[in-house]
Symmetry: C2
Subunit: 400 residues, 2 copies
Amino acid sequence: MVRKRTGNNQFLKKFNQAVILDLIRREKGISKAELAEITGLSPTAVGVITASLLEEGYIHETGTGESKGGRRPVLLELKPRSFYAIGVDMDVAYMNMMLIDITGEVICERTMHLSESTAFEKAVGRLEDAILDMLDEKVIDLGRLLGIGISVPGLVNSETGEVVLAPNLQWENIDVKSHLIRLKHVPVYVENEAMASAICENWIGLCQDVGNFVCINIKSGIGAGIFTNGKLYRGAGGSAGEVGHIVVDENGPKCGCGNYGCLETLASTTRIADKAKRLVRQGIVSSLNEIKDVDAITIDRIVEVARGGDEAAKNILMESARYIGIAISSIINTLNPSKIVLGKEFIKYADLVMEHIKGVAACKSLAFPTANVEITASNIGEKASALGAAIIPLKVLFGK
Amino acid sequence: MVRKRTGNNQFLKKFNQAVILDLIRREKGISKAELAEITGLSPTAVGVITASLLEEGYIHETGTGESKGGRRPVLLELKPRSFYAIGVDMDVAYMNMMLIDITGEVICERTMHLSESTAFEKAVGRLEDAILDMLDEKVIDLGRLLGIGISVPGLVNSETGEVVLAPNLQWENIDVKSHLIRLKHVPVYVENEAMASAICENWIGLCQDVGNFVCINIKSGIGAGIFTNGKLYRGAGGSAGEVGHIVVDENGPKCGCGNYGCLETLASTTRIADKAKRLVRQGIVSSLNEIKDVDAITIDRIVEVARGGDEAAKNILMESARYIGIAISSIINTLNPSKIVLGKEFIKYADLVMEHIKGVAACKSLAFPTANVEITASNIGEKASALGAAIIPLKVLFGK
């Protein structure tokens, strides 16, 4: 390990500890002898590290493994409910909070509704209250909290922990950490919402052990989290994955970004609902007509009547799916990923449109990468960003 | 360094040697004391490694650095013309070969023209003859050849060294190495043509020290080589970067891939020439009309008359540029690269269309990544793939 000499030993110690801890996590029951065998560290070094991990309470001894001749070896496992992490999905209309433990198990979850006018300071104040309250309720000491991950729909600087720009939240150059005064000794991480989902899929979802994949979140906006060569890919300035702004119809509607025909204008759930409203106003033949307050038409309602066999509602969803397929074809040609996972509100109607998306994408991308990609709906869905944010402090602990 | 114990020492030794050698390359004159300082290796370890590098002839002592009190230290540098590498750009109509030395300097270059009907065995036979002849001429012993890199317009398996599919060459599942019988002790690497260009830009071109960039090659086909997080990105199956098949006009012409309106059908140099031929046949007002044999119209001729002020020729180029701009906007939104380098035949007319490409791309992508990307023409151009292929054996030597 060639590195600058300063702090080298300290670095190596932490590095080796994280490697051991991560092996214990992945193997779910492993002996010290096996740890030495896999890592190439000496049995003594493994003994020192595991003793320290036991003492600090990250792991515990659990059962015994198979004997290879002598005594049956003691197995080491992560100790459930020893350490915790909190993830927050911060959106315009809600804040979703997840408390998980070191093993990734969800301990509790809370959602708070916000109004669009909720100012930043007030939102963060309520977040802090809720976190402290949740820890209190579960009798968890602050010292047992590995960190807090906050997912925001916008551009973050993951190194400084600053939210650079989250237009929908009206946040700009905000250092969230500095406002969480009562949590000042707890590490705080901020992450883009789609990237947080990708982290979640990679850690506990459909993309474990997948090196090259794209998670596309479809809700009021559309964005993607991308992994390349086994690592989250942020791009040069942290804005990689803005696939909602791929132009899929040059003559399409105007987008909030100023451009025309971005994917978002044709396939976000808000725009899908807008389209349904417009068609109802134009007198479309559909059971959506039965809704008295046209403005109350939502994606949920559209999906509901589509499931009931309403052709107009189905067509609206299929039309949005076609545009998703076009954008995906561009992603397949450019990135040749092995998986594309569609998540968030999309999972409400994934079964209705998935075949169409696959068909359009296959038509419009090269045969080789198309034959080698799996396009699928997330099975975590709307909670992926909150969970992904909670996983960030775990990733730091496990040196990932 | 945690690794399986078997072969660990051997691995570490090679790793440390590559790190030292790479520092000597990058610093262009560095003392042993500085090497120890930067790497954190002991002066003794650095001494052993550099002595072995000196003995094997990779480096030499050259001049003295500034004194920090005592004797002025001897500086180490790569030894020019000590070791060599060959790169080959294999195309339908030609084979371009580059012989470079360990420092990256081009020693000599050869181009052989091929006819489309040249069978694989014959092409490889001529390649082998030419390589041996070139080494003979320069009096270079085979033992001084670090390796041969071969760039092909197609899908390669960089691990097995096999060309999986190169449709234009009509190569399928070909192990080139096994056919280079007289070079059997020389390592042979195969690489996709656009990825080879990206390697070249990263090693000696416009993308040195750039972690996230895209090189787009525009000639008879269009393809890209992508670097993410400082590494070449191949995708799940090695086909990443097929941006020539991004659909930029749903109602566009049919592409060789079976789809319609791929970028390639509207902006490859072959298709640009085809368009000019069609317009001439339709009686367009242009000095291209003066060419008696319409089929002889080439991209070079179009560029020539465009430079002479011919509006029709300029429009044909500008139209192709517009489509390049559209595809680039999709790349900017998805990948947020800090550089996009356009190369190969494109450099013949880059100055005529670059502003238009930038304008279209800026119109159709998000403000933030657009403001942070530099779109530029390669200054290596048509030789980038051959050079990039030659650099592969150097990268292996330097542990990159």
